[in-house]
């Protein structure tokens, strides 16, 4: 699996992490191209279904990233997201999805560097983990 490139689907909140990713880009920071962003207004609107679906479609990891606690543009959306991620982290490993395949981070709008670092750190870990088993299953 040397040429295996993991796919990360990142649900990023419009106000913080999406902006941070933008900043990482405009700051010309380089980070692995393995991530695809899906912008949401707030991590609080990330339905657990999205994460499940992404993994079932073959994504190797799902990153949910929003504003730091206390900085949520909508006051407490990230607190709700945290509970939902907690649930997913209990649920998905039961079916062999490694715990690392769902990740929650708080990356503020100005943390372009942290965004780049987060992705840079995730990719080798996912490579070590190997591809999502779903890729070989005829299942959705």
């Amino acid at each position: 699996m040397e040429d295996y490139e993991p796919t990360i689907i990142a649900f990023t909140c419009n106000w913080c992490t999406y902006t941070a990713a933008d900043l990482a880009g405009t700051s010309r920071l380089s980070y692995p191209p393995n991530v695809r962003l899906i912008r949401v207004m707030c991590t609080g609107m990330v339905d657990p279904k999205y994460v499940i679906k992404a993994l079932l479609e073959g994504a190797d990891a799902v990153l949910i990233s929003g504003c730091h606690i206390g900085d949520c543009h909508y006051m407490n959306g990230n607190l709700k997201a945290r509970r939902r991620v907690k649930l997913l982290k209990e649920l998905l490993p039961r079916f062999g999805f490694d715990e690392q395949r769902v990740k929650l981070t708080w990356i503020g709008a100005s943390d372009g560097i942290q965004f780049a670092e987060t992705i840079t750190e995730m990719v080798p870990k996912l490579k070590a983990l190997g591809p999502n088993e779903v890729r070989n299953q005829m299942v959705l």
Binding site: K80, E90, R94, G96, E133, Q137
Partner: protein, 381 residues
Amino acid sequence: MAKIAKIEVKEQNPLNSLQGFFKTLLEQGEISAILVPQHLPMKDVVMPTLVTDPEKLNGTDPLAPVFPMNAAKLVSRLTGKPLGGSVAVVLRPCEIRAFIELVKLKQGRMEEVILVGIDCLGAYSNVDYPRFVGDDGTQATLRFCQNALAGKSTAVEDFDLSPACKACEYPIAENADVLIGLVGVDINQQMLVKANTPEGEALLEKLKLPEAKEPDGRKKAIDSLVAQRVAYRDKMFAETTEATSSIEKLTSYLANCVNCFNCRVACPVCYCKECVFVTDVFDHEPTQYLRWAKRKGIIKMPTDTVFFHITRLAHMSTACIGCGQCSNACPNNIPVMELFRTVSSHTQKAFDYEPGRSVEDEPPLSIFREGEFLELTGGKE
């Protein structure tokens, strides 16, 4: 201190005495109706009935080892909006627990309902019950109760009680308003009636039943029954965990799912009016199927089966009370209950949540707090 009374049993027929009790309840309990399972006259099946006439209680058989559906859904229908009178509902512990979950989700109200719980000795699946009962009706019920309470095997031919019941560690409806106790009680002599709430006590007052004491053996008998079931449950957890521990295994576990959604229809805590999987969100473009297929060269149809089950786990595993109606409803014999209970044991523990315990407990995803689950983000807020 809970108030305890007894129903005296005559002619070694607890069912008749129970029917008498319900009659008294309807006549003297100042209630409008009673919801209780009865043998239907037209066919020997047991179904919940809503009775207002005390004379129409003759087929009552809440002890029959079957519950074709989780009656919490019916109580929810009765209490969703003001009823204009109170109704006593005779339920199994799992039905009461499901109803409490539904009340939290505003699908029912406690105000006009008296929960009457009966110690649950378990039930056969909807398919197995007719084979068990034959045309014996209430006699089969009595035979079953005697056997079960004596600790004898409930297995008949090639079948036994449903796995959900065998794994159920909640045989006693401690959170009912009025509890009818069988376990550890000589039901040929008497049955216990225990009021657990002020509403239950008020009701018992009206019925003027003889007072009683809890028999010494009851606690021990309950503990032993629960221990037996916990042992079965843990074995089931271990087996199911093994059988679903990878996506490949889960796929084969759910291989014959046809997306009929019967499990979710039967599930008492799946309270959605319309499951999201039947809304237009899952009304995929035909071309999308082709693209999915193209990715791997092959895709199982119907799609979204594993997705449906994992999503349903995400939605309601914290509320799963383990009644097993999902398995009961599955046309293709997928052991849905086993999967759900196994996963639920983890998700419920994660939020320190026990479904059906009390209406005061808030469902895990309906609340959120600062400073919790910090481990998800490296220990920091």
